[in-house]
Amino acid sequence: MSHDTAVGAPSAQASSSAATTPPRAATTAVRPSGGRAGAAAGTVWGRSAPIVAALLGIVAIWYVVSYVFLSESRRFLLPPPHQVLAETVGNTLVIAPMLAALVQTITVALIGLTIAVAIGMTWALVMSQWKLAEKILYPYAVILQTIPILALTPLIGIWMGYGPPARVVVCVIIAVFPMISNTLFGLQSATAAAHDLFTLQKATQRQRMTKLMLPAAIPSIFTGLRQSAGLAVIGAIVGDFFFQQGSQGIGGLLRTYTLRLNMEPLFLAIIFTALFGVVVFSIFAALDRFVVGRLFGVSTR
């Protein structure tokens, strides 16, 4: 709504960059009937089947590339899946540090997401209360969203050091925008008539917030949460990649393996990051469906 006018040109860039724009949130806000296939099968399996199928497809393509497109001398560029697993999963020297790194990255992502959610919701709440605050604060959110993180990393390193705190900062910067924009959109989504209703009943500002604006915002907040969670994973891995001091994260391992051309561990690390992303996305998508379904009386089963 009004934040589009508040930002002018920059918002166009922000809009095209990710699925984080208000109009998108609008479509998801009215959706809760869930995936059609999921509703038909009526089970968790029904919903995860497409993802499993996609994973199997990737494995199949992987084999084809390894064996059909690559000659034996060049097969090290993409070792087949079973070889990757055989040389890594059974090897404690590889798997132990990798699991430790994964735990480290998950920790950064969770801390980053929590901070991003807290900052994003507070930011949106303040903007929803005063038009002037929205005019002043929204451009900063857009700048945060549009500035390439690469441009900031040197500065973050100088200020914060090169360990886990800097990784969290990167994670927050990358993950915070969907939380701000979706929450704000949600808080502004109550209709003018609904606001009139509250005015007629002489509702206090607090009642208006807790009984109208916040409940109306919940579907959008969960949409934002889902998007931010996905970005927090990316942010944590990018943070690992740049800030290598302290215990290594999975992004740090990616870099090490790449430099040493350790192809099998490199592929396992990639698989882990991909699975991490899929799992986080699925958890928050399920949470979204469940909460919104409960709240609006649409059955999720």
């Binding site: 009139d196 509250f198 009386g297």
Partner: protein, 266 residues
């Protein structure tokens, strides 16, 4: 309670003592009201209307002539630019064109909202909500969310929410505009029954002339923008009115006269 921006306007004792059942004092009075929006749009011009307890007054007029503006002034949601709007009702209810239900609340909790905002105790609130829902024929649907109700049922919830406050003045802004013809006729009968039962003063906006005639004791015709009252027609029949009334020749004559007035002034 008095709304508007003109300075000396509140005359007479406060609403608690000036009971709206006193037929001499109108529950709602517009006196020479004009409304100009900051954008420069002149929405209303020299509007004077009295609505008394037990009166059902409909307003018909071309689209954009200022009907919703009129209701917003009556509700105190906006102030008059000139003239005064005098409301002598301790409670005013508003029924919007859309049902305007809170989607995350069940039918019962939507009706309870009014009491919640006013600080009515939970048990009392619940009792009144159940009563109001029963009255609009929604007993058994209390725990449904708006999403699983039909358009007509949603509007019934909206009406129950308006009635639960026991209003002395009820304002309706094209409440049945979005309903199909059959549901609409049914809702008209229902509303008439509720009006008779509760005896509030009603102001009702509609685009349907026959709806206005069927429901109202008086029908006002507004001109195109800026809206003025150009005709004021008494509808003779007492309540309750049978749906068959719509086929009476006299009914047709009144509808005809209103149509002419509308055409002449739009």
């Amino acid at each position: 309670m008095s709304t508007g921006t003109a300075a000396p306007k509140v005359t007479g004792p406060p609403p608690e003592t000036t009971s709206s059942s006193d037929p001499a004092t109108p529950t709602l009075a517009f006196r020479g009201v004009a409304k100009v929006f900051p954008t420069g749009t002149r929405a209303l011009e020299d509007v004077s209307i009295d609505v008394r307890a037990g009166e059902f007054v409909s307003v018909v007029g071309p689209s954009g002539c200022g009907k919703s503006t009129l209701l917003r002034l009556a509700a105190g949601l906006d102030g008059a630019t000139e003239g005064e709007v005098d409301v002598r009702a301790s409670t005013t209810s508003f029924v919007f064109q859309e049902a305007t239900l809170l989607e995350w609340r069940t039918a019962r909790r939507n009706v309870e909202l009014v009491g919640e905002l006013a600080g009515v105790a939970a048990a009392e609130r619940r009792r009144r909500a159940a009563e109001a829902l029963e009255l609009v024929g929604l007993a058994g649907f209390e725990d449904q969310h708006p999403r699983s109700l039909s358009g007509g049922m949603r509007m019934r919830v909206s009406i129950a929410r308006a009635l639960v406050a026991e209003p002395q003045l009820a304002l309706f802004d094209e409440p049945f505009g979005a309903l199909d013809e059959i549901t609409r006729l049914k809702m008209q009968t229902e509303l008439q029954r509720l009006f008779q039962l509760k005896g509030f003063a009603a102001m009702f906006i509609t685009h349907s002339i026959s709806e206005a005639v069927y429901l109202s004791s008086r029908v006002l015709v507004m001109s195109g923008r800026p809206g003025r009252i150009v005709d004021d027609i008494e509808v003779p029949w007492s309540y309750p009115r049978s749906p068959e009334l719509r086929y009476e020749p006299e009914f047709g004559r009144i509808v005809g006269r209103l149509s002419h007035a509308l055409e002449a002034h739009s």
